[in-house]
Each structure stands twice: as structure tokens, then as C-alpha cells.
């Protein structure tokens, strides 16, 4: 029982009462503080590189979300209509291809995609850094979008099992409107936003992992210099790795810890950005799950 003035916590501003909003602001605040620190203590060329890497990583992740949503939506609907129209052979073929894609470990699939991209870059087909970023995102989304496909199919199947769908179709409301507007937009927006946040986190993680793997050198043909700078590729640079290894110095000389924030700023900066962004993304997604009981 809430009674006025007793035993109640002080009212929190409405905006911060939501966990997901709180973590979005926390992320923005954290990045802003880091930016200020870098401005003061990181050397200008390294700062420029960090800025570019952060921007590229965020842009690529947003693109992965956009591509995955589009691909997931299209494939989810395609599978639904093929099933409904009784096109069993095509449905089987599409399901087979999608399952083949699903069976491939994401990291291996993306690495293979990057091999193709490197080839295109070497052949001068992909010249513009923006186009390269878009291509990188497209490759990542190819191995992520099935999560969206599954969600779309699950939502449609759930509403198909209720009178909801039949009652609308009996009123002559077109099937495409029932699915796209009534089911997906009006009744699944929270689920889709949650999935988009999860895909964003996944994209950051996969991208950093792949860029790091490529940058430490899987072959002489592929290297981080082929691709636009990202947080992963920057982390794999020799100077960043040295910065991270410098943490171990603290164990032998405790007074060294203060130097970490001035002399080894670049590597720590990148590592923090990756971890902090992933933690915030997780909490935003978690907040949405709790609020909408997903």
C-alpha cells in the first residue's frame, strides 16, 4: 500500500525511472567523459583515430541492425506466405538455405565474407571507405538476421493461433495489413526494438572479434589496413596491445596504475569503449524485457 509521505522512496525523475533510458544516458555520459579525458590527455593523432574507429563501429552496427531487420522481416514474411499459399517445394528450399546459413558458426561465416570483401578491395571494386563499411555490415547481418526472422515468424504464429487473426480476416481486412500493421507494428514493436538492441550488441561484439582476428593476422593478404578503422582493428594495433599489457605492470609496481590513464590511454580507451558499450546494450535490452514482460 502506498501511503503519502511514509515509507516511499523519493520520486525519481520519470525519464530515469526506466532502466533502459537510464543505461542509454549512462552510456552517453560515459562516452562524453571519456571524450573529455581523451581531449586533455590523448595525443591528437591517436584521438582522431579513436574517434574514427568509434564512429565507424557504431555506424556499422546501426547498419547491421537495419539490414538484419529488413532481411528478417522479408524472409519471415516470405516463409509465411510460401507456407500459406501451399508452395511447399519453394518453402522447403528457402528453409534449407536458411538452415544452412544457421548451421554455419557466425564467426566462421563472417570470416569467409571478409575474405570475399578483401578480394573485392584488392581488385579495386570496393574503393570508398563508406561502401566498405556497408559491405562489412551486410556480411555481419547475413549471419545475424535469422534471429529477426525467427521472431517475426513466432509473432505471426502466436497471433494466428488466436481468434485475433481470423476475426480480422473475416472482416475483409487484407492479410498483409493484419500481419504488417496489426501484428508486427502494433503488437510486436517492443519485441522488435528489444531484438534490434540485441542485434546491435551482437554486431559490436562480432565486428570487434572479427576485426581483431583479421588484424592480428590470419593471412598476409588480409590485414586491418584493407578495411576502415574500427574499435576491433584499433585494439589489435601493436600500441593498443602494449597499452593493455601495461595493466600487468601494476602487479609488480603498484604506483604504476596512475600512468595507465595517461601513458596507455589509447588501448585502455578502446577496450573500455567496447566493454562499456556491450554492458550498456545488455542493460538496455534487459530493461526492455522487464518493462514489456518479453
Amino acid at each position: 500500500m502506498k501511503t503519502e509521505g511514509e515509507g516511499t522512496a523519493p520520486a525519481r525523475p520519470r525519464l530515469f525511472a526506466r532502466k533502459e533510458t537510464r543505461w542509454i544516458f549512462l552510456w552517453l555520459g560515459g562516452i562524453a567523459v571519456l571524450w573529455g579525458w581523451d581531449l586533455l590527455f590523448l595525443n591528437p593523432p591517436a584521438f582522431a583515430l579513436v574517434r574514427t574507429a568509434l564512429f565507424n563501429s557504431l555506424l556499422a552496427s546501426v547498419l547491421v541492425v537495419v539490414f538484419s531487420m529488413a532481411l528478417g522481416w522479408a524472409s519471415g514474411l516470405a516463409l509465411y506466405y510460401l507456407e500459406e499459399r501451399g508452395k511447399r517445394n519453394i518453402h522447403l528450399a528457402v528453409t534449407f538455405v536458411l538452415n544452412l546459413l544457421r548451421s554455419l558458426p557466425q564467426i566462421v561465416g563472417i570470416l569467409l565474407g571478409y575474405v570475399l570483401l578483401t578480394f573485392l578491395i584488392v581488385q579495386d571494386v570496393l574503393r570508398s571507405p563508406f561502401l566498405q563499411l556497408v559491405s562489412m555490415s551486410a556480411v555481419v547481418s547475413l549471419f545475424v538476421f535469422l534471429e529477426v526472422t525467427d521472431l517475426i515468424r513466432e509473432r505471426i504464429a502466436y497471433y494466428r493461433s488466436l481468434d485475433f487473426f481470423d476475426a480480422m480476416i473475416c472482416c475483409g481486412i487484407p492479410e498483409r495489413r493484419i500481419i504488417n500493421v496489426e501484428i508486427l507494428r502494433k503488437n510486436s514493436l517492443a519485441h522488435l526494438v528489444h531484438k534490434a538492441v540485441a542485434v546491435f550488441g551482437m554486431a559490436i561484439f562480432l565486428q570487434c572479434s572479427i576485426d581483431f582476428i583479421i588484424s592480428v593476422g590470419l593471412s598476409t593478404d588480409m590485414s586491418s589496413t584493407n578495411f576502415p578503422a574500427t574499435l576491433g582493428s584499433l585494439l589489435a594495433r601493436m600500441d593498443s596491445k602494449q597499452d593493455i599489457l601495461a595493466i600487468s605492470m601494476v602487479f609488480s609496481d603498484i604506483s604504476y596504475w596512475s600512468s595507465l590513464f595517461f601513458r596507455h590511454l589509447q588501448g585502455l580507451n578502446i577496450a573500455f569503449m567496447i566493454m562499456f558499450t556491450l554492458a550498456c546494450t545488455y542493460n538496455v535490452a534487459n530493461g526492455l524485457v522487464r518493462r514489456y514482460h518479453l
Binding site: 481470423d166 480476416i169 473475416c170 472482416c171 481486412i173 503488437n187
Partner: protein, 509 residues
């Protein structure tokens, strides 16, 4: 009036849900609380009984904060001496304990071991059925909703039997029955009322029966008329934006039922016309063979015909497959076989879905589903629901106002049009559910429990609209458990019966 009086306010997240100043239960009498579903009848009774969660809702009863009310002698006494039968039987039963053991838990441990009450409630079923059910751990699908409901009603009746002999009810002897007939057919509903009133005659107690089934009034008036002065009929309704309880005269309902005549001025004239919809008597769905007949015994299979301006009423006991039949007729189920003709269109099990989409759904035939909660989009506003209809002439503001005005008062319409459906009461949802299909003006309209959850006023309005639509030439096919109303509205000529055909049955045609 000698009674229990309550001033109850309930809100959630600062949104007021219920506020009622004078909710009175007459002591030593049975109060029949009527009203449309979702208006707050259950919430109020749970509040009185001390069953709401103060962590989720902000509640005050008689100006007492709820935690204090929960600790009061009144609540403790009511919970000790009375019984509360929940609307949703599954939520009352423990899935980890057999039904038999639950019947002997707590205060019921001292109840009669013979289970006479339950056996009486199982009248018509084999005794073995009851014994096998009592060994079951309740699950969502077993036993059936009706059986669970009868178990709970049996518990409450046993608790009444345990009351010490007295001429007057003690102040705490409050027995609440929340929608006791929600999962029962008319036979078991009448049986329950008989058992309840027999006990009340022998030993008075304070009772509250919450229902939106107005036909209970007729049953009480016809079969328990000696108790009419000890049953208080009250109706909960929202008037001018506030919730009010007022007395309801049983004669208002019984008189109205008596005055009902077959609807549709064209029904006589329509005999010379071709039927709008014809359904061959044999239908097979999900391996179940159904047969349509004109006689209640199911001996003479008959082709079901819906003429312009007529209402056809299909009757059958619960679980026979009435809803399945109409869904099959609507082309929503493709399994099995059916032979039907909609004007000049032949409809069989092989008719492709695209044909239904292009030629039938929303154009020549539509259907009102029985559960408005499932049939409507809870995230849409009422306005969006109506604007989304594929009408030849899209609705404008005036059109929506006219349409909504058929079933909503002007003030209420202004209040609810922009509201999301999930915030409407059950009765408002059902009215919207009906309006959506009525707006389409199809040749044939199928109605599955059209009066579900409606109060008396709304039910009379719905019937007036149906009459108007029939006069304009629409054909109606109705399935409903409100037999006394639809028997009168359809008349014998347009009443059909649905039966399950057993293997031993021989076709007689």
C-alpha cells in the same frame, strides 16, 4: 437495510480503476450483482474479501488503507466463515495437489465424507466420472473448465453445510460466487442455483452472486419465486463517467423476455426468396461428424437455410462443436468436409483460401467472434479499429459517430473513441466487436455468443440493431447459450439443433 456497507477506492499506477462510495451487501440475503463484464464487479468483491495485492494496487476500504483493512476483524472473520468462488476456476486450484485432497483442505477438513454435494452437482454424469476426476492433479486442460467450476461450487456449498444452525446469518458469513455459471451450461447452472437456494432456505447466510448472465433472473423468478423477497437484484453500471450500483427490478428483464417476438419483418415475405446461405446437414471437422437437425432428438437431418431478413438459431450442448461448425462455414478451418452455398457461390472443403478472401470475407459474409478480448487488437484505439475496415465508402468522423452511437451514449462514445481497446471494459469491447462486423453490411452475419458480457441495456440495443439489419435484408446465423432470448427471437421455424453423429447412428435420409 441491515447489511455490510463499503466505500472502496482502487487505483493502479495513479490511474483510478474503481471508486464506489456505497457498495452494500444485504445481510441474510443473496445479492445478485449484475452488469457488463469488466466493469469492476470482481475487483470490488475481491477488495471486500481482502484478496487484492496491496503491492500492485492502491486500495482503501471505508477510508482504511488496505494493509490495515486486511488485518481487521471483519476481513479475518469473512475469510474464516465464508468462501470465495473465483471466476477463473484454474486460478483457485493447486496443480500440485489432487482435487480430492483439495476438497479436504483447511476449513473443509470437517466436511461430510460422503461428498453428497459434489455428487448432486454431477447429476447426469456417471458416479465413476466424479471419482476419477477427484484423483486428478488439476491442469489447464484437465479436468474441463466446467468440471473445475463445479468442484469449486461444491467446496462453497460444503462450507455452507458446515455453518452452525442458526436462524440468522452471522456478520461474517459471506459467500461470494464470481461468475459461477461462466463455464457451465444451462443445466448445471440451474442445478447450482437449486442447490444454493435449497441451502439458503434451510439456513440463511449472506451471499453475493456476480454475473453478467441476466437469464439467471428468469430462473430465479420461475423456480425460486418464494425467495424473490430475499434476493436483492443490483446492477453495477458506469453513468456519467462514474460507477454506480442501483437496484434492478427483475420484472424489467423477465417482462422484456416475455415481450420478445421473432425478429425481422421480412421473415414471412422472405419465404418466396432464395436462401442466402444453405448448409448441407452433414459436416465433418477434425474427424468429428456433425449433423444438423430440426428436431432436438437429432433424428431428422435437415439442410440449414438462412433467408434474407431471417435469424437462424443453432442450439447444442457445450462442447458439441457449434463454434467449430461456424468457423468451418466461414472457411477458417479447411480440415474436413462441408457442402454450403452462399447465394450462387458453392463452398466445399476444396474451395481455395483466395476465393474466400476475394469474394466472401467482409464482402458477403462475416462473423462476430465470442471472445472480444481475442478478436480485437488491444493496441488499437476504437477509432482505428473502425477506420481499418475495408468499406466501399471509408468512414469519416460523422460516419464513425453514427455507427458508434448505435451502441454507445454520446458522452461514453466521446470518452472511449480515442482509447486503446485494452483500456475498455469487457462490455465495451464486446460492443465494438459487434459494431465492427455490423458496419460491413454483408449479406450474412454469423454471431457467436453476441450477448456475451453485455449488460441489459446494451443487450436490448444490440437486438434492436439486429432487427434493423434484418429488415434491410441481412440474414443472421446465431449460436448462443442465451436460449430464452434467442428461442424467442428466432422462433421454432428458424431453430436448428447440432448433434455429434456416432458410428452406430444410421443415416435416415
Amino acid at each position: 437495510m441491515d447489511g455490510l456497507s463499503f466505500d472502496i477506492r482502487i487505483s493502479a499506477d495513479d490511474k483510478p480503476l474503481v471508486s464506489i462510495r456505497d457498495f452494500t451487501l444485504a445481510q441474510n440475503q443473496i445479492t445478485l450483482l449484475l452488469g457488463e463484464s469488466g466493469i469492476g464487479k470482481s475487483l470490488i468483491s475481491r477488495g471486500v474479501y481482502g484478496l487484492l495485492d496491496p503491492a500492485e494496487l492502491t486500495v482503501s476500504v471505508n477510508n482504511l488503507p488496505y494493509p490495515e483493512y486486511l488485518l481487521s476483524q471483519r476481513v479475518r472473520g469473512i475469510q474464516r466463515a465464508g468462501f470465495f468462488v473465483f471466476q477463473e476456476p484454474s486460478s483457485h486450484l493447486n496443480p500440485l495437489v489432487t482435487l480430492g485432497d483439495q476438497l479436504r483442505e483447511g476449513a473443509l477438513a470437517g466436511a461430510s465424507p460422503g461428498r453428497e454435494v459434489l455428487r448432486a452437482l454431477w447429476e447426469g454424469s456417471a458416479g465413476q466420472d466424479l471419482d476419477s476426476i477427484l484423483a486428478v492433479y488439476p491442469k489447464p486442460y484437465r479436468p474441463s473448465g466446467g468440471e473445475k467450476q463445479r468442484i469449486l461450487l461444491g467446496m462453497a456449498l460444503e462450507k455452507i453445510d458446515m455453518l452452525p444452525p442458526a436462524k440468522r446469518a452471522g456478520p461474517d458469513e459471506l459467500f461470494v460466487f464470481d461468475e459461477p455459471s461462466g463455464s457451465l451450461d444451462n443445466h448445471y447452472r440451474d442445478l447450482f442455483l437449486t442447490l444454493l437456494f435449497d441451502r439458503f432456505r434451510r439456513r440463511p447466510f449472506t451471499g453475493l452472486v456476480i454475473t453478467h448472465d441476466y437469464s439467471m433472473i428468469s430462473r430465479i423468478a420461475n423456480s425460486h419465486s418464494d425467495l424473490l423477497d430475499r434476493v436483492v437484484f443490483r446492477e453495477l453500471a458506469r453513468r456519467h463517467g462514474t460507477l454506480q450500483v442501483s437496484d434492478f427490478q427483475p420484472g424489467t428483464y423477465t417482462g422484456w423476455v416475455k415481450s420478445l417476438l421473432p425478429l425481422g419483418a421480412l421473415s414471412q415475405a422472405s419465404r418466396g426468396q432464395e436462401p442466402l446461405l444453405t448448409i448441407a446437414p452433414d459436416v465433418e471437422v477434425f474427424g468429428r461428424r456433425l449433423v444438423i437437425t430440426k428436431d432436438p432428438e437429432g433424428k431428422v437431418p435437415t439442410r440449414l437455410e438462412v433467408y434474407p431478413g431471417s435469424m437462424v438459431y443453432v442450439k447444442a450442448p457445450s462442447g458439441t462443436g457449434k463454434t467449430t461448425l461456424v468457423k468451418r462455414v466461414m472457411g477458417l478451418i479447411h480440415e474436413g468436409s462441408i457442402e454450403a452455398k452462399l447465394k450462387n457461390l458453392q463452398l466445399t472443403g476444396a474451395t481455395p483460401r483466395k476465393f474466400w478472401q476475394d469474394r466472401i470475407w467482409g464482402k458477403r459474409m462475416t462473423m462476430v467472434f465470442q471472445h472480444a478480448d481475442e478478436a480485437l487488437n488491444m493496441q488499437s484505439t476504437m477509432r482505428e479499429t473502425l477506420l481499418g475496415l475495408p468499406l466501399r465508402k471509408p468512414l469519416d468522423t460523422d460516419g464513425i459517430a453514427r455507427l458508434v452511437g448505435d451502441l454507445f451514449d454520446t458522452a461514453e462514445a466521446g470518452e472511449v473513441l480515442g482509447k486503446r481497446v485494452r483500456f475498455l471494459s469487457g462490455g465495451q469491447k464486446q460492443r465494438l466487436n459487434l459494431l465492427r462486423s455490423l458496419a460491413l453490411d454483408t449479406d450474412v452475419l454469423i454471431l457467436d455468443e453476441p450477448l456475451n458480457g453485455l449488460d441489459f441495456d446494451s443487450a436490448t440495443r444490440v437486438i434492436a440493431i439486429l432487427d434493423r439489419k434484418m429488415k434491410a435484408g441481412m440474414g443472421l446465423l446465431v449460436i448462443s447459450h442465451n436460449e430464452e432470448i434467442f428461442d424467442a427471437l428466432a422462433g421454432d421455424t428458424h431453430t436448428y439443433y447440432l448433434h455429434i453423429r456416432r458410428d452406430s447412428d444410421r443415416p435416415s435420409y
